[in-house]
C-alpha cells in the first residue's frame, strides 16, 4: 500500500503520465514459464487432472477465494487471485479453471472475490468455461441475497 491521499495523483501533470507497458505481446507460454509453475494443491473434484501430462499448476491462491471476509478486502487481497487465474489462462488451463469456477461456493466468498473471478475470466468465457454463466447467475443471486446492487456491480458482464 503506497502513501496516497486516496487517489492515484493530485498533480494534473502526473495524471498524464503512466509507466510504459509492453504493447500486445502474445501470451505465449515458454518452457521457462512451465518451470515456474508448481503444483501446490488439489482441484476440488475427483476428475483426474490433466496435470499428469502437463506441467502442474499453483492453485494455492484459490483458498483465498473461499475464505469468508471478516473485513473489507483491499486490492492486495485480490491481486493474488487475479494473478493466479491469469497464469492459468495464459497457460491454457481452461478445464482446470472451469472446475475451479464450478467449485466456488458463492455463499462463503466475499463479493469482491466473486467479481474478480468473473471479470478475470470474462474475456475467455466462450472458451470451454462451461460453468462461467452459471457462476454469474449464482453470484447475481448471492449479491441480491446480501442486499447489494448486483446490476451495478456486475455491469458489463451480461
Amino acid at each position: 500500500m503506497p502513501t496516497t491521499a486516496g487517489d492515484d495523483a493530485f498533480s494534473q501533470k502526473l495524471k498524464q503520465w503512466g509507466y510504459a507497458m509492453e504493447k500486445s505481446q502474445p501470451l505465449a507460454i515458454t518452457s521457462a514459464d512451465h518451470q515456474l509453475i508448481v503444483w501446490d494443491g488439489q482441484l476440488q473434484d475427483n476428475t483426474v487432472s490433466s496435470a499428469q501430462t502437463r506441467p502442474s499448476v499453483d492453485i494455492s491462491w484459490f483458498d483465498r477465494v473461499m475464505e469468508p471476509a471478516t473485513r473489507p478486502l483491499k486490492p492486495a487481497d485480490i491481486m493474488p487471485v487475479i494473478a493466479g487465474l491469469t497464469n492459468m489462462l495464459k497457460a491454457n488451463y481452461f478445464e482446470e479453471v472451469d472446475r475451479l469456477l464450478k467449485s466456488v461456493k458463492t455463499s462463503d466468498a466475499a463479493p469482491e472475490m466473486l467479481v474478480a473471478l468473473l471479470r478475470t475470466t470474462y474475456p475467455v468465457r466462450r472458451k470451454p468455461l462451461r460453468h462461467w454463466s452459471k457462476l454469474l447467475k449464482d453470484v447475481r443471486a448471492e449479491l441480491s441475497a446480501r442486499h447489494l446492487d448486483g446490476e451495478r456491480i456486475l455491469r458489463g458482464l451480461t
Partner: protein, 269 residues
Amino acid sequence: MRLKQWDHVQYVKNPLVEVVAQVRFPRVLEIDDQLPSDFQRVLREDYPLLETQEETLSVLIGQGQNKIMADDLPKRITVYHFIAPDRAWRISLSSEFVALTCTKYEKWEDFQPRMMTGLEAVAKLYSVTHWTRMGLRYRNLIIREDIGLKDVPWRELLAPFLLGVSIADSFTEGDYIPEIDVLAAQSYVSVLLENCVLGLRYGIVRKEQTGDQGYMIDADFYLDNQIARFDLDAIKQHLDRFHANAGAVFRGCIQQHLHNALGPQPISS
C-alpha cells in the same frame, strides 16, 4: 541501513511533481457518519475548495492495451479533499487517514507545518488515539526535453542500478542496447532504513496523449503495521526523519550530469 549523505540542494528545475504525506489510523466511524464540517471550518481559510471522492476498490485486470479496470465494485469510504485556491495544496480526510498533497513543493519548512495543521485538527476534533501507518512520498518525473537534455541517453543521467538489464550491453551484438528497444522498464524495491522503510518505484513512463518518454523516481518512506499513540510531537519527528532521507535517495539515483542540469542551489540543512 544508513543512507549516504549528500549536500542539501534545491533544484531550480525541480523534478518533484508531487509530495504526499499520509497518516493512517483505525477507522473513525464518526467521520463516516457525519460530514466533517468542523474540520472544514478549521481549514477553510487556507483550503476553501472542497471535492469528495468515493474510495473504491479498483482492480486492474490484464496489462497493456488489454487491461480492464474493474472499478464498479461496491463503494467504500468517502475522502474529503480540502484544496487551496491555487490547487497546489490539498488536505484530505477520510475515516481512515489524513493526508497532505503538494504539487509545487519547494521546501520542507512549508510542507511540514501544513501537515501538522491537518494532524492537529484530526487529533482535536476526532480524538484519534493511535496511528497505524505513516508515509511520506516524493514523486519525481524527469523529462529530458524540459531540462535541455533531449538527446542525452538515460544511461548518462541515471544511476546504473536503476537501468538494470536495459543497459546490459553484453546481451547485444552491437555496442549497447538501443534505448528505443527498451519497451518497458519498471521496478519496485523496498529497503529497510534506519528509521523507516523505503519503497522505491522507478522506471520509464510515457505521456498518454503523445507517447513522450520520461523517467519516474518515486520514493515512499513509511512505517506500517503500527499501533502507536497519536502523539503529534512523535509523528512530527517521524516525518522529519523521513524527509531527511529524501534528498539522499534522489541524489543517489541520478548522475552528476543530470544533477547539474536541474540547477542545484545549496540550502542550509
